[in-house]
């Protein structure tokens, strides 16, 4: 019996010397996998224009009906996205979202991406609806904020040019 007790205590004392596995959340955060599906981010191009063109395909793909999109027309005076159309309203109800990532798959411009943020807490239902402002990626400098005033005829196409088919 002493033998067993000794063996147990060896393990105990061995563990005492090792560094603990506990992560001190929230001070310390657990890293996520590269393909982790956390809170959505609406991406921008390098020039600050939004990638989202308001096509609502994410909403169509969403099995939980969590996304609501409304779109409007871009002008060269007030340009949000390349091409004619941008999302004037973009809302995701995080209480409904099941983080399946279908929206990401449906997006023709890779505008919506499920990020690494998993800290979603709300104190009421209304706060659970993330609006476009909270979903949009931050810009490095304020002059890249949308809407931008651009030269006419510079951004006439919504969908990025495609590569020629490989024969």
């Amino acid at each position: 019996m002493l033998k067993e007790l000794g063996r147990g205590l060896i393990t105990t004392f061995k563990m005492l010397l090792e560094s603990p596995v506990t992560i001190q959340y929230p001070e310390e955060k657990r890293p996520v996998r590269p393909r982790f599906r956390g809170r959505h981010v609406l991406k921008r191009y390098d020039n600050g224009l939004e990638k989202c063109i308001g096509c609502s395909l994410c909403a169509a793909a969403c099995p939980a009906d969590a996304i609501f999109v409304e779109s409007a027309e871009n002008t060269d005076e007030e340009r949000y996205a390349p091409g004619e159309r941008y999302a004037s309203t973009y809302e995701i109800n995080m209480l409904r979202c099941i983080f399946c990532g279908f929206c990401e798959d449906a997006c023709p411009t890779e505008a919506i991406v499920l990020g690494a943020n998993y800290e979603l807490t709300f104190t009421n239902r209304r706060d659970a609806i993330y609006t476009k402002d909270s979903l949009l990626e931050a810009v490095p400098s304020p002059e890249l904020l949308t809407p931008q005033k651009v030269e006419p005829g510079e951004y006439t196409r919504s969908i990025p040019e495609m590569e020629d088919p490989k024969l």
Binding site: I53, G54, C55, S56, L57, A59, A60, F68, E70, S71, A72, E73, G83, E84, R85, S88, T89, P108, T109, T156, R157, S158, I159, E161, M162, E163, D164, P165, L167
Partner: protein
């Protein structure tokens, strides 16, 4: 007589008339042959080549004229070496069509690949995406992969405004010419054309202002790609996100069947609103078309100016109050007035509303007055067009007589259908005091001077060439309006028309009878339910309790505004805080017809059902419910909880509505062409009618009862005297009415208030086109922009209604 022929399509045997196209025959057999340029309502052109199929015809022995038989005793089939277009080939006896053969499928696949070589793949931002024939057919028949290089794609202009209403995306256009052909063949207005040729072909507008047609919206429905879209719905929503509700257009008496597409909207605080209006097929009313007014002038329903709470006048100020206190006061005052109650309602209301209002007026012993400036509805009630009337059935041997109406401006879809009947060979007689757009298609144009309307109709009963064409016709319909006429003039005109129809025996059967081109959608319904206009309304208002519903007399007539101030008690039930409402003691907020259920009766006396599309605004209630609430407090029992109950009561008490019910109005029969199902490429994005075709009311003449038509009084109307200028009212499609003006993008089409003068009259007055002049008549004063019109007589000026100048009937005016 057409001959029936038997043919086999993909192994299915079918009998069709010998003038049928292969593509239509296949459709009847339930086989969908893909098409882009072909449309069942237009002549085939075979431009897109999408409908390629293999067609075999039996080999005929030329000496005997009999089919050559093979060893099995079956006719030997001869196939062309290449596939043929199903849309340009007529069926023939014994034909064999293969739509699924290797060569047909290969051909269809190649055509799709070819069409996509320069089509931009911007489906995600395209308004057509989701209901796009090209998208659907690519999924169904396309190769899935392109062999063409993206670098070689044609880049064209993406955003061309063909007018304020329609946007063209040249890159998406596949040059099927459906829009060009629609304007040319169906609408008869060649305002679009194809410019350049080959790959450089592009659609252009050749009119000034751009795309100058009131049918322009229809081209967006039949466009098989997203090349033509409306500015109104531009990026409004994706088609799959929209809900739909069947309805009837409330803008004119045609009663076009429409579908309201609705969705939640952020800028309306998350409320469900109407996003667009689409035509709904009814081959007896509007076929698959609607006019631009019906398509675009729906924005009034969500206007911020709408009334949402009852208001009560206290210390000369209107203050919000509760429904119970408002209706209590109204009931009290109407009860006190008793016989001195006047219910003044307009044809904007539904049958149910009008029935309840009439019942209330009858219960109190008061008077139910129709607020209109056009008379003769009681005659239409008796000899309106017979049951089963359909303009599409009219052609060779029939006659249509249009008098004192500019159908293009007043009822565009009737204009379209009358024009098409004339194209098919019906004799079209157009009588007016000025040139209208229908003249071009008429066999006979009669130009009379203002005041001679009755005489013109009576002449048609004579022995002249035109009179013969009318009286000898197999079927004849008369459409009368109030162009240049007021209440009195139009009543006389209607009587004359009724007499003419009775004398020539054109009553009591289908495609015969009288149609009134009313200013409001349900004016005919109001007449059916016993409402009548009052010749001198101002005189009877004094000291009375007036219950005004859906009308704005104070704005239309200063004399009525004055008279209303002398009324004992005024209650106004409306959508907006109108000039009349400002004079009211109580204002009750009503719902628009898009917010509740009900029925309208069209000018052709067709009762049609509309359904609630969006939730009601604020505390507003349906008109029939408000009326029943007031009536309840007066111990008059009316239905108010649901429109179906009101209609049941209505059907039980009004003879012409006998036997009707909502279930009956919701009945549908198979219609041709088949539209709106999965195959949007065939008939366009028009909705299929699954919610009811409506029922045409049976008139007294239909039942064979004797009708009593008063003899027409021969006194001519007002005529211009020497050195006087007689202004006559005309109707404009886009006016400043409460249901049109809130649609902001129509402002340009609504334009300024005008006065049309003959060049001589203008010269005499020393004014020229485009100049602003001051106009005064009776107690109305205003300004208008001068327009020169050579087709009117020198002593007459044309002033449009509902444009700010309160003109109701021919009147002598002063111009400065």
């Amino acid at each position: 007589m057409t001959k029936q022929v038997t043919l086999t399509i993909d192994g299915i045997q079918i009998d069709v008339p010998d003038e049928t196209l292969v593509v239509d025959a296949a459709k009847k057999a339930g086989i969908d042959i893909p098409v882009f340029c072909y449309h069942p309502k237009m002549e085939p052109v075979g431009m897109c080549r999408m409908c390629l199929v293999e067609i075999g015809r039996p080999m005929i022995n030329r000496s005997t004229g009999q089919p050559v038989l093979n060893e099995d005793g079956q006719p030997t089939m001869q196939f062309m070496p290449k596939p043929e277009t199903a849309c340009t080939n007529l069926v023939s006896e014994g034909m064999v069509v293969l739509t699924q053969s290797e060569s047909a499928k290969e051909a269809q696949k190649d055509i799709i690949e070819f069409l996509l070589t320069s089509h931009p793949l911007d489906c995600p931002i395209c308004d057509k995406g989701g209901e796009c024939p090209l998208q659907n057919l690519t999924m169904e028949h396309g190769p899935g992969k392109s062999r063409f290089l993206f670098d070689g794609k044609f880049k064209m202009e993406k955003q061309i405004r063909l007018g304020e209403l329609i946007v063209l995306d040249r890159e998406r256009c596949i040059i099927c010419a459906r829009c060009v052909r629609f304007q040319e063949e169906v609408a008869g207005q060649a305002v679009l054309a194809i410019d350049d040729r080959g790959r450089g072909s592009e659609i252009i507008s050749v009119s000034e202002p751009g795309f100058d047609s009131v049918f322009s919206g229809n081209t967006t429905d039949i466009c098989p790609v997203g090349a033509l879209t409306t500015t109104d719905f531009r990026f409004g929503a994706r088609p799959w996100e929209l809900l739909s509700a069947a309805s009837i257009c409330g803008q004119c008496p045609v009663g076009c069947n429409i579908t309201f597409n609705t969705r939640r909207e952020a800028k309306s605080a998350g409320k469900v609103v109407i996003k667009r209006v689409m035509p709904r097929q009814n081959e007896q009313v509007n076929e698959t078309w609607i006019c631009d007014k019906g398509r675009f002038a729906y924005h009034y329903a969500k206007s911020k100016e709408r009334l949402s709470k009852p208001l009560l006048r206290k210390d000369d100020k209107l203050k919000t109050t509760s429904w119970s206190s408002a209706t209590k006061l109204v009931a009290e005052k109407l009860g006190e007035a008793g016989k001195d109650t006047i219910v003044l309602a307009s044809g904007r209301l539904s049958n149910e509303d009008l029935f309840n209002l009439k019942s209330l007026a009858d219960g109190l012993g008061g008077k139910a007055v129709l607020y209109t400036e056009m008379g003769g509805g009681d005659l239409v009630t008796q000899i309106g067009v017979g049951q089963g009337t359909n303009f599409s059935d009219m052609g060779q041997g029939d006659a249509i007589f249009v008098i004192a109406s500019d159908l293009y401006e007043e009822a565009p879809i009737w204009w379209l259908r009358v024009k098409q009947a004339a194209d098919r060979g019906a004799k079209l007689i157009v009588a007016n005091s000025r040139e209208t757009k229908l003249d071009k298609f008429a066999n006979f144009v009669v130009r009379y001077s203002n005041g001679d309307e009755v005489k013109t109709v009576q002449d048609l009963g004579g022995t002249g060439k035109i009179a013969q064409a009318f009286s000898k016709a197999d079927n004849a319909i008369v459409l009368f309006g109030s162009d240049g006429l007021g209440l009195e003039g139009s009543t006389h005109l209607a009587t004359a028309c009724a007499n003419l129809l009775e004398e020539t025996g054109h009553i009591g059967k289908a495609n015969n009878g009288l149609i009134g081109v009313w200013p409001k959608a349900n004016d005919q319904g109001a007449w059916e339910l016993g409402f009548h206009p009052e010749p001198d309304l101002a005189a009877i208002l004094k000291g009375k309790a007036v219950y005004i519903v859906g009308a704005d007399p104070a704005n239309d007539n200063p004399a009525l505004a004055k008279a209303l101030k002398k009324a004992k008690f005024v209650v106004v039930q409306d959508l907006f805080r109108t000039a009349t409402a400002e004079l009211a003691d109580v204002i009750l907020p009503a719902q628009t017809y898009t917010e509740r259920d009900g029925t309208f009766t069209s000018g052709e006396r067709r009762a049609q059902r509309f359904y609630a599309a969006v939730p009601g605004l604020g505390e507003s209630k349906p008109d029939y419910a408000i009326t029943s609430e007031i009536a309840e407090k007066l111990n008059i029992q009316l239905e108010g909880t649901s429109s179906v109950l009101v209609f049941e009561k209505l059907a039980a008490s009004v003879k012409d509505f006998a036997g009707l019910s909502y279930a009956k109005l919701a009945e549908v029969t198979e219609q041709w062409p088949i539209v709106g199902r999965g195959d949007l490429y065939y008939g366009g994005s028009t909705y299929e009618n699954t919610q009811g075709l409506g029922v045409q009311l049976v008139s007294a003449s239909d039942r064979g009862e004797t009708v009593s038509i008063p003899k027409v009084r021969n006194d001519a109307g007002l005529r211009p005297k020497k050195d006087e200028l007689l202004a006559v009212p005309i109707t404009k499609l886009y006016d400043r009415g409460t249901t049109v003006a809130p649609t902001e993008f129509l402002t340009e089409r609504i334009g300024d208030v005008t006065i049309a003068l003959h060049p001589e009259a203008a010269k005499k007055l020393g004014v020229e086109a485009g100049k602003r002049v001051k106009i005064s008549f009776e107690d109305v004063e205003g300004e208008a922009v001068v327009k020169i019109d050579e087709t009117i007589s020198a002593g007459v000026a044309l002033v449009p209604r509902s444009m700010g100048l309160a003109i109701r009937e021919p009147v002598v005016i002063k111009v400065q």
